[in-house]
């Protein structure tokens, strides 16, 4: 079976789901990306990515509570699966390994 890879945006969303924990749903993730990364992001892109990650088995979801702000509609709360965490970890390690190959700046 071919190894699964994550795109840059997928990795970003997956990381934020892991970070936000019980508060990880579409609008919150989009807002976090905008605030923290200073990057314009579209809600539909976040949702489509979340569904794709769920299809790949990196996320699981359940319906949470609704709020007045949301017109009573419930949130879909995403949680990272072990496979998702393993994938994030593997990606981070791969990057660290690659980063080590880059000549470091020497100060002084």
């Amino acid at each position: 079976m071919a190894k699964e890879y994550l795109g840059e945006f997928e990795e970003l969303v997956l990381t934020l789901v892991a970070a936000l924990q019980e508060d990880a749903y579409g609008a919150a993730i989009a807002e976090e990306i905008e605030t923290r990364m200073k990057r314009d992001v579209n809600l539909s892109a976040v949702h489509v990515t979340l569904y794709r990650l769920e299809d790949k088995g990196f996320l699981k979801s359940s319906l949470g509570g609704g709020t007045n702000e949301r017109g009573g509609r419930r949130k879909r709360i995403y949680t990272i699966t072990n496979a998702g965490l393993a994938m994030l970890k593997a990606m981070k390690e791969a990057r660290v390994d690659l980063w080590k190959l880059v000549p470091q700046l020497k100060i002084g």
Partner: protein, 864 residues
């Protein structure tokens, strides 16, 4: 409110299981945008507008494959797989029942073929004159007038020949104007040392090519002058081969013209199909002609129409008023001419009534083929019930059964459409007179026709499928009617069959009456003149008259010549016979009327089998002066003369006291369906004759050569003749074509109903074979089986006869009311339309009996 329709839009495309979270996130973002404190300087109204805009934009961006493909039934390609599986199982099912499939396919193909052919014919007629550049800016001027006592207005396709020049000079909105008229029916053309008698020579003016654009093969339209002639490509090839004819001289009726150019052949869907144009049209050469003009792009049509009417009032109204006649000019768009109302001296027209009739018949035929399909499908519904209920029990959704029947109909209709398109493509190019380059199809129209057919089949498939689906919802496996001795048809099958009988009987009965009426109104000259009456064109040259008279005398001495008659003005009956203004003296005093007339000699009525119903025919003493007149029967009817018609007098020109009516003659029926009969006046031959009609005792081609050599010896001009029945046939060509079309349509409908019948018999035989086998074993005879089997079908037929005949009779009576001469509707007409259906029933009965006879009962029930 704004948010509501945005949400509705989202719900329309978004999978249901994702809607709640997406809606919530969108609304949360909307609220955040509304309360945004990033820009405190923004006004609340602006914030609201911005938030709404962003909500809309965010929602629209959900319309993407990542969301749309998450619909449950589209996921993982299972739906595509399901449809493929349906298609495969439908293909297997159709293959398993070859008779059912073949009957449906042939029936649908026939129906679609007829519909496609008729649509193409209709489209061909609508395409007339639309190929000209700026056709929507070109108009024709026509003229109407009415005498004081005329019952209706006379409409003329022509206008006065001075009009084109007046339009060019006095109306600013007119860009170009031109006149056009036929030089003569046939002209004597001399090219080098060879003489030809040609048709299709028209005269126009030098502005013609400013109004109408043609493709030029040789020459230049700017060099045309009064002594020029322009030929069409085929005529140029006939005279000069493949060489350029520009600069050559051609003599037309002894006047020389120089060939100035060659244009491509006039397209077949053109109202004026000329072969050559000369540019001598003006008021000094001819009094009347067609007037066409092209308006400027910014000009108002209505104001130009008004100006043209005023032009008529100023120039001619006062002159006409002296004769108590009123009239006016009218304008008619070029593109409406062909489908418009027939006028005197008009170009050949489409017959709208006949087109409507043929189109309706074609639609009925398509409908019959669809009912055949539906009939067979519903007949099979019982048979397939076992299979379907098993599928439903095993978990198939009930709607899936409906989808399968639609797939079956789609497969059959697409196959039928493909086969029909191929057949029509081959037939169209093989049979139609249209040149390929003159007629191109519009893709939009083709798509429209195809989608109409698919739509019709789809609707019928849905209805039949829905019926089958309703039936298959019964979650019990029915017994296949083992002890039901003969299939009682289901009410829907019975309804379809009765309906189909009704339509077919109505169609056959109507076709019979329409064909009879067509014969009635076009029958003149068909039987008694078959290859016997020869019409010779007399040249329009005064110096040849003695020679023609000499030739006529020589003919009288030939043993194979029965009679020879010379006729003058409007020599042969025609839709374009001469008309003039007559004063009619009656008991109510004198009245002014516009009437059609002709000049004939003493033998004319006898030669054409036109019986004198009152008074006497002309004698030799009447010839040479207008001192007697014979009127047609329809004229007497139109005038409402209840007393003796021979008491009346009709005056013309300077003869103020009028001429005595000496006889009443039977109408010459050749008008076709295009217009009602026109009253006719016959005067003794006074002016130069136009035709010499020779009646032969028997047809012998060698005698034709003898007559030709006699003519060439006596007159020394080309011998131009045709048989009278051919002349009439040409006159009513459209009616004859319609006759053929109606006969063909009636034939197809008979074939369709035969197919339907065979299909139902076949399905019922297959379905009930065990019951029949049991009955045979228990001693039922063939007659018993047939009797019980056909009782229902004959009942359906009886209901159809009771419903359809009175209805069709009522409709046809109102249609026939418009004709003076009507065909009689009697028992024979009824029987003629019933006979084909009776033959089909007999045929199906024989087939049924044959199948029953061959059935091996013991083999069938051995394992029950």
């Amino acid at each position: 409110m704004d948010r509501l329709w945005v949400i509705r839009f989202l719900r329309w495309f978004c999978p249901q299981h994702l809607q709640e979270e997406i809606e919530g996130d969108l609304l949360q973002r909307f609220e955040r945008d509304l309360k945004s404190s990033d820009h405190p300087e923004w006004h609340d109204d602006y914030k609201l507008r911005r938030a709404k805009r962003r909500l809309l934009w965010n929602t629209i961006r959900y319309f993407r494959p990542g969301i749309l493909l998450r619909h449950a039934d589209l996921q993982s390609g299972s739906s595509v797989g399901l449809y493929l599986s349906y298609t495969r199982s439908t293909y297997r099912l159709l293959k398993k029942q070859p008779v059912y499939t073949a009957l449906n396919l042939v029936s649908l193909t026939l129906g679609i073929c007829v519909f496609l052919w008729t649509t193409l014919t209709l489209y061909k007629e609508w395409s007339y004159d639309k190929h000209f550049k700026d056709a929507n800016r070109i108009y024709r001027v026509t003229m109407n007038w009415q005498g004081e006592s005329d019952l209706s207005e006379t409409r003329l396709g022509w206008s006065l020949s001075a009009l084109p020049e007046q339009l060019r000079t006095s109306l600013a909105g007119v860009e170009h104007a031109t006149g056009l008229v036929k030089v003569k029916d046939r002209v004597l053309v001399k090219v080098g040392n060879t003489s030809f008698l040609e048709e299709g020579y028209y005269q126009t003016d030098t502005c013609y090519f400013n109004v109408f654009e043609y493709k030029w093969e040789h020459g230049n339209p700017n060099k045309i002058n009064r002594s020029s002639i322009v030929l069409t490509s085929s005529l140029s090839k006939k005279y000069f081969g493949n060489d350029s004819p520009v600069g050559h001289r051609i003599e037309i009726e002894n006047e020389a013209f120089e060939v100035m150019g060659v244009i491509q052949d006039v397209p077949a869907n053109s109202s004026f199909r000329f072969k050559a144009l000369v540019f001598t049209f003006d008021a000094s050469y001819t009094d009347w002609g067609f007037t066409f003009f092209k308006i400027r792009p910014d000009a108002s049509v209505s104001s130009i129409g008004q100006n043209i009417k005023s032009l008529f009032q100023e120039e001619y109204a006062s002159t006409l008023k002296q004769s108590t006649i009123t009239g006016s000019y009218h304008i008619e768009p070029l593109m409406d001419i062909h489908m418009g109302e027939y006028k005197m001296m008009d170009s050949p027209k489409a017959n709208r009534k006949l087109l409507a009739l043929v189109t309706s018949l074609a639609a009925i035929i398509l409908f019959i083929s669809l009912t055949n399909y539906s009939n067979l499908t519903t007949s099979l519904a019982d048979d397939r019930q076992r299979e379907s209920t098993i599928r439903i029990v095993l978990g198939a959704a009930p709607g899936n059964i409906l989808i399968q029947s639609i797939i079956e109909a789609t497969m059959l209709s697409i196959s039928a459409l493909f086969i029909s398109s191929m057949i029509i493509y081959l037939l169209w190019s093989a049979l139609d007179e249209f040149l390929p380059n003159a007629y191109s199809f519009d893709t939009g129209h083709i798509l429209w026709v195809f989608s109409t057919i698919i739509f019709c089949v789809f609707i019928v498939a849905c209805l039949s499928g829905f019926w089958s689906y309703q039936k298959r919802r019964v979650v019990s496996i029915n017994k296949p009617g083992l002890f039901q001795f003969w299939p009682r048809y289901h009410w829907l099958t019975g309804l379809w069959m009765t309906f189909q009988f009704c339509i077919t009987l109505t169609l056959l009965f109507s076709s019979r009456i329409i064909l009879d009426q067509l014969q009635e109104v076009t029958g003149w000259g068909k039987d008694s003149h078959q290859n016997q009456s020869l019409v010779v064109n007399v040249p329009h040259q005064e110096d040849v008259m003695p020679a023609v008279e000499n030739f006529a005398r020589m003919l009288q001495q030939q043993p194979y010549v029965m009679q020879a008659s010379l006729t003058g003005v409007g020599a042969l009956p025609s839709l374009e016979a001469s008309m003039d203004i007559f004063g009619v003296h009656s008991e109510w005093g004198k009245s002014i009327q516009t009437l059609q007339y002709t000049e004939v000699d003493a033998t004319y009525f006898d030669l054409f089998n036109l019986n004198i119903v009152a008074g006497r025919p002309f004698t030799e003493e009447d010839m040479g002066s207008w001192e007697a007149v014979i009127v047609s029967e329809s004229y007497v009817k139109q005038q409402g003369w209840s007393d003796d018609p021979l008491q009346h007098r009709i005056c013309y020109g300077g003869i103020c006291d009028g001429v005595q009516v000496v006889g009443v003659v039977r109408d010459a029926l050749f008008w076709g369906l295009q217009q009602s009969e026109r009253p006719m006046l016959y005067y003794p031959l006074q002016s130069a004759p136009e035709k010499l009609v020779i009646k032969l005792s028997l047809f012998d081609p060698t005698k034709l050569d003898e007559i030709k050599s006699l003519w060439l010896g006596a007159v020394q001009l080309p011998f131009d003749c045709q048989f009278f029945d051919q002349y009439v046939a040409k006159h009513v060509e459209k009616e004859r074509k319609t006759e053929q079309q109606i006969s063909l349509l009636a034939g197809v409908s008979i074939l369709l109903i035969a197919l339907g019948f065979l299909g139902v018999v076949h399905v019922q035989l297959t379905k009930r074979k065990k019951a029949i086998a049991l009955r045979k074993v228990f001693g039922a005879t063939l007659i018993d089986l047939l009797k019980s089997g056909w009782r229902d079908q004959l009942q359906f037929l009886l209901i159809a006869v009771i419903v359809s005949y009175p209805l069709a009779w009522l409709v046809l009576q109102s249609w026939l009311a418009q004709f003076t001469s009507k065909t009689s509707v009697n028992l024979v007409t009824f029987l003629q339309s019933l006979i084909p259906v009776a033959v089909i029933i007999l045929f199906a009965l024989i087939y049924h009996g044959w199948k029953l006879g061959r059935m091996k009962s013991l083999d069938i029930i051995r394992y029950e």
